[in-house]
């Protein structure tokens, strides 16, 4: 369990620390003595989706801490979670760089769930998502490291009675160069805590970086190759039982009756818990729980959504795109430009509901006691789990302890706390701890889905085929409106429209509207690459359509629109060169390109796709060029792009959740398929290095690959696919 360092900081620093106002427009840092000696710095790191609202806050609320202990260990306590994206390695690199220590010297602890202390109180969000960990931490963590270093140097200079300018920090020590004297950080930490915080610090120049920009070993890897990493599903509190559950197959349905005689007769089954809309089987082990679940006879009252189908939802959304919605972007005069255009192009696109299907199924372990509640879970938004447990039990937040765990795949699913809510509801009926593990079927049929969207676009081209007008209206669910209501303003939010309203291309008259339509009863949630997962497919398909109408090469057409976006042009040209764009390909193979600027990262992907006579598809090769500004850990950037591309190919070729009779029709990996080893293409990643601030990397790769694939299919078959996933049957004999 992590001790909350905040209280000791507040106590210890009273009257002696001050905010370093010169470091930032907003106060962000406090320094003081750590409990038990040593130096403690508290700082505020922005979390997912909190940029806009954070600006409103005047109160300094630290949510990350750096503790330099008397024995020389450096502990970073931070609110970001590791879910495979390499954050536990790249974040410590920032602090180690400015503090002048080896990466191995930095130990990482996850901050405890504490909405008040670890997130902005205006937001109630302690979350990792939207590819913003490195983006948010880039300045504050380096500045905090530099402040700590400066205070350590001051402490050493004072002890030696020399000018601090004659001292320097290196490898975890302060060195007085003229005399060769050295003191280790641990010996200085307590004295450093009494030094004044510097008003300003100079950060290293990029050419002086020792760690940033060089590939570092993942700190979490060894435990993940020998089976010792402990995920939420591995929690085993003493005396714990295991439960699994059936939730109403129709969203909004309820339990009508349960015959549990056969289930109770199963060896190892201890208890059946009946809730309004779910039934759980509690047992000694999951084998017995599953056997018990299969033996239950549950009659459901399906409720008002018993006849709901995907087609109905799509029809509603399509209708919604016929009426005006809130204006998300407006540049120039689209109507006038459209009226004067030489050629007009129109298209409508559909993208489906998608499940997350993280390989670790949803699970949460809970022990409800009379006056407290303990939760073991792997979650991207820890404080939300804590809040959910408090809401169900009626306990105050400080009586709910949440132990976070390594996450077996997040992708947005574990930003949600529905799994905690459900587990606590069950645990309230159980004496002792109970681990609630969802079957894969429950995990897929009771996910919170990437929303279905329908997009209607039109464009006007001039005599040279260049776009002079762009009109885009789309309809679908807003996750932000539910998850973070203050950020949903005037019918718009920054996530749902990302990738649609700021294209890298110069289009003089540009208009985008978003119509929020929530599908009845179908829960929706963030899904890897969030807004761009939908918008980049639509915009990059449509740009490709315009190039085709203009009878121009897709790369050349895009390049001609990028004169004012040199970084976008550079990734396009690099990818085209490395992919051999324009070089001959075998019969039945085509190349497609997509370019995007999302999460503050520029990226081009070129996919080589083979379409067989029977319509079967194979993505043979993907070339990606990326400019994500300063690269902290290049190997992690490559790994994230490789993985994100696989994630995107799965969506393009296989991903679709459909509803019939109000039920999700897919249930496991036979009908909700994942890309596998034999389908995985060769992937080449080329990184453009520069000193721009870092862009996000966890998600960007997932969005660009999808239109790159469908554009390649167009190149080889002449068929334009405007609905995902790719319908292989429709491509039969198309070559």
């Amino acid at each position: 369990m992590v001790q909350d360092p905040r209280s000791s900081l507040m106590k210890a620093t009273k009257g002696q620390s001050r905010a370093a106002s010169g470091l930032s427009r907003r106060r962000f840092l406090q320094a003081g003595a750590a409990a038990g000696g040593g130096l403690l710095l508290g700082l505020h790191l922005p979390l997912a989706h909190d940029a806009a609202a954070a600006a409103k806050s005047d109160d300094f609320v630290p949510n990350a801490f750096i503790r330099i202990e008397a024995d020389g260990r450096i502990v970073l306590i931070m609110p970001y979670v590791e879910m495979g994206q390499g954050t536990y390695t790249s974040i410590p690199m920032l602090i180690a760089e400015e503090l002048e220590v080896d990466l191995q010297q930095v130990r990482l602890q996850h901050a405890p769930a504490n909405e008040k202390h670890y997130a902005n109180p205006l937001l109630g969000v302690q979350a990792t998502g939207n590819s913003n960990a490195i983006r948010g931490a880039w300045q504050p963590l380096r500045q905090a490291g530099a402040v700590a270093r400066t205070m350590l140097v001051s402490a050493a200079a004072k002890r030696w009675d020399v000018d601090p300018a004659s001292c320097r920090a290196q490898s975890g020590e302060v060195l007085h160069a003229p005399t060769g004297r050295k003191i280790a950080y641990g010996d200085l930490a307590a004295e450093a805590a009494r030094m004044p915080m510097p008003e300003s610090v100079a950060l290293k120049r990029p050419e002086d970086f020792k760690l940033i920009g060089k590939s570092a070993r993942r700190l979490d890897a060894p435990a993940k190759v020998n089976g010792t990493a402990v995920y939420g599903i591995d929690a085993r509190p003493t005396g714990g039982k295991v439960a699994t559950l059936a939730q109403s197959p129709v969203f909004g349905g309820r339990v009508k009756s349960v015959d549990d005689a056969a289930a109770k007769a199963v060896n190892g089954v201890r208890q059946i818990v009946r809730l309004d809309d779910a039934v759980a089987v509690v047992a000694d082990h999951m084998g017995a729980a599953r056997k018990g679940l299969a033996a239950l006879k549950i009659e459901w009252d399906d409720g008002p959504l018993a006849n709901l189908t995907t087609e109905q939802i799509a029809g509603e959304l399509e209708k919604a795109t016929l009426s005006p919605g809130p204006v998300a972007q407006h540049i120039g005069d689209v109507d006038k430009a459209m009226a004067g255009a030489n050629t007009k192009v129109e298209a409508t696109y559909h993208v489906p509901f998608l499940a997350h299907a993280a390989l670790e199924p949803m699970n949460c372990t809970v022990h409800v006691r009379k006056d407290s509640c303990e939760v073991w879970v792997g979650n991207q938004a820890l404080a939300r789990s804590q809040g959910a447990a408090a809401a169900v039990t009626g306990l105050p937040l400080d009586k709910v302890v949440v132990h976070n765990h390594v996450i077996g795949g997040g992708f947005g699913r574990r930003l949600e706390s529905d799994g905690t809510t459900r587990a606590v509801q069950i645990a309230q009926h159980v004496d002792g701890p109970v681990k609630v593990v969802w079957t894969r079927e429950e995990d897929i049929q009771h996910d919170m889905y990437r929303p279905y969207f329908v997009d209607r676009l039109s464009a006007g081209l001039d005599g040279n085929g260049k776009p002079v007008a762009w009109n885009h209206r789309f309809a679908g669910s807003s996750i932000i409106a539910r998850y973070l209501p203050p950020a949903f303003k005037n019918g718009l939010d920054p996530d749902t429209t990302e990738g649609a309203i700021e294209l890298p291309y110069a289009i003089p008259n540009f208009h985008v509207e978003y119509v929020r339509v929530e599908p009845p009863g179908i829960p929706t949630a963030f899904w890897r690459s969030v807004g761009p997962s939908h918008n980049v497919f639509v915009t990059e398909s449509f740009v490709d359509e315009l190039a085709a109408v203009a009878k121009q090469d897709p790369v050349a057409y895009r390049r001609s629109l990028l004169d004012r976006s040199p970084r976008a042009k550079a990734v396009l040209e690099l990818a085209a060169e490395r992919a051999g764009w324009g070089q001959p390909l075998p019969q039945g193979v085509g190349r497609g390109v997509a370019l995007q600027f999302v999460f503050a990262t520029y990226m081009t992907q070129i996919a080589e796709v083979e379409v067989a006579k029977d319509g079967a598809l194979r993505v043979r090769r993907v070339v990606c060029a990326v400019d994500c500004g300063t690269v902290v850990n290049p190997d992690t950037v490559r790994a994230q792009i490789q993985g994100a591309i696989i994630f995107g190919i799965t969506a393009a070729l296989h991903g679709e959740i459909t509803l019939k009779d109000g039920r999700v029709q897919q249930s496991n990996f036979h009908d909700y398929q994942m890309l596998r080893m034999d389908e995985a293409p060769a992937i080449e990643v080329y990184i453009i290095q520069n000193a721009e601030p870092p862009g996000g990397m966890g998600e960007a790769g997932t969005s660009a690959i999808v239109p790159a694939i469908t554009n390649a299919i167009f190149a080889v078959t002449g068929k334009r696919l405007r609905t995902l996933p790719v319908d292989a049957a429709a491509l039969k004999q198309a070559t």
């Binding site: 994206q85 060894p222 993940k224 089976g227 056997k291 390989l359 696989i646 496991n668 990996f669 036979h670």
Partner: protein
């Protein structure tokens, strides 16, 4: 019903129904949580263990079918020559992301390498396509298997 099973060289007695999948005996009864649950239908490979050195999906393997066979799990695979090479190559190539599938991937890859010292791409596909990685580490898994094969000595 009581069963004796040998896991990683140790004999355990467990009292469960004979149709209980080996996965739950390992995880919930014996507390060996390195072997993971992903699908329960043998579709994803997260639960892969070795039964007499053959990669086997423990989620669809009833405990009564194990009998006297030797079960090896991720917790002990590093003690085998192929397993140690695979784990080392996994670290060398920085394969893991979320890591949840990697126990199963490593068990499948270790079984492959133990029976085929120098697998080609088609053989890697055949051995590894039953293991899903949602983070999409396939490119590196392939590289790591090839690296592990090289580290075992020249192709002969």
């Amino acid at each position: 019903m009581a069963f004796s099973i040998e896991v990683n060289g140790r004999v355990h007695r467990v009292d469960v129904d004979g149709d209980t999948p080996l996965l739950w005996v390992l995880r919930d009864v014996l507390g060996m949580t390195g072997t993971k649950f992903g699908c329960g239908m043998g579709l994803c490979g997260a639960c892969t263990v070795h039964i007499d050195r053959v990669a086997t999906r423990s989620c669809v393997t009833p405990i009564e079918s194990v009998r006297k066979a030797r079960v090896t799990t991720i917790e002990a695979i590093g003690a085998t020559a192929a397993g140690a090479r695979i784990q080392k190559a996994w670290l060398n190539r920085e394969v893991v992301q979320c890591g949840y599938c990697q126990s199963g991937q490593i068990m499948s890859a270790s079984a492959l390498l133990a029976s085929n010292a120098h697998p080609n791409d088609a053989e890697i596909n055949a051995a590894m396509s039953g293991n899903i990685c949602r983070c999409g580490t396939y490119v590196r898994i392939r590289e790591a298997i090839k690296l592990a094969a090289q580290s075992g000595g020249p192709k002969g």
